[in-house]
Amino acid sequence: MRAARGITSRAHPLWLAYILHRLSGLGLALFLPFHFWVLALATTDPARLDGFLTLTEAGAVKLAEFGLVFLLAVHMFGGLRLMALEFLPWTPSQKTLAAGATALSFCVAMLFLLKAI
């Protein structure tokens, strides 16, 4: 079974999309308890919460926030992809068109949002 250990047959887009979805979900699951704990500080220890909030000015934390938003986006679109894949009996070209349209509208919406900010 050593051929199994060295298996290189995972190097294709569908498997990579699968592992990205799982790892982003795992990352979010690890983050959420911490997130709720920090939010809970608003009622238990507001001074400490303010301490945490000043931390968000730091560059490293900003970078981590980017990572977090990336995980959320990857996980959400991974979930939508999976549902489309399994529950929409469309042809591959229809799915490509739908994904392209979604991505395009997402980009346009993001542009407007960035302009508004």
Partner: protein, 237 residues
């Protein structure tokens, strides 16, 4: 091809590896390489093949970590420099050398109710089949399976769950579910929604990526997921 001699590593049973120098030639398949070793270097080598033209599904092996039908795979397409590693199919018990026991694979075809459920006898008239109906088109998409077990070897869900029926068996269950001549709908849905059934599939897509006949078991399993879900919401099971 970079040299006239191929460095071939065979992954034998009990974890042993053996290296062979095999002369290279034009239009040489992986099966040709294995056959050369057995005929010229090691007559004890065990491997399985029959038709040599991609119809019988008996010669699949792991080639550089990828499951392939060896009779239709040119060695020049898979060489890493002048090296290649050939092993027995993944996810199946090894009998000896490159020969695996296919019993678990075929048992799961039966487990998925991927068998014909007929109700007519030889005395009945032959039922007409509408080749253009959506169900028939769906069934036709999967019927060219040659039972080679490449998808079964490529699947990580099979590797992680010994009960999982696997892509080939589930794809055949899906074709029968769409086959107007098959009357086993209830039995099939029951079989594929159980512990080892279609809902184990994580849609990793290795079955579809490596099927040598370019079939799409992943989408067939997605079809079963839809039908079992519909059946669950309609009848509560």
């Amino acid at each position: 091809m970079t040299s006239n001699i191929l460095k071939v590593t065979l992954e034998r049973d009990a974890g042993g590896q053996t290296e062979f120098d095999v002369p290279a030639y034009e239009s040489q398949t992986v099966l040709d390489v294995v056959s050369w070793i057995q005929q010229n270097a090691d007559p004890t080598l065990s491997y399985r093949f029959a038709c040599r033209v991609g119809m019988c599904g008996s010669c699949a092996m792991m080639v550089n970590g990828v499951p392939r039908w060896t009779c239709r795979t040119h060695i020049s397409k898979v060489l890493d420099g002048d090296k290649v590693t050939i092993g027995p199919l993944r996810n199946l018990p090894v009998i000896k050398d490159l020969t695996v026991d296919m019993d678990p694979f075929f048992d799961k075809w039966v487990g998925a109710e991927a068998v014909h459920h007929g109700t007519l006898t030889r005395d009945d008239p032959i039922a007409a089949v509408d080749e253009t109906s959506p169900e028939r088109v769906e069934a036709n998409a999967g019927i060219e399976c040659i039972n080679c077990s490449v998808c079964y070897a490529a699947c990580d869900t099979v590797a992680g769950n010994p009960d999982y029926l696997g892509p080939a068996a589930l794809q055949r269950a899906w074709t029968l579910l769409n086959d107007a001549k098959d009357e086993g709908r209830a039995a099939i849905l029951e079989a594929v929604s159980g512990r080892g059934g279609c809902h184990n599939c994580h849609s990793m897509g290795s079955c579809t990526a490596y099927c040598p006949n370019e079939l799409d078991p992943m989408s067939a399993i997605a079809g079963l997921k839809r039908e079992t879900a519909k059946s669950f919401f309609k009848r509560g099971r």
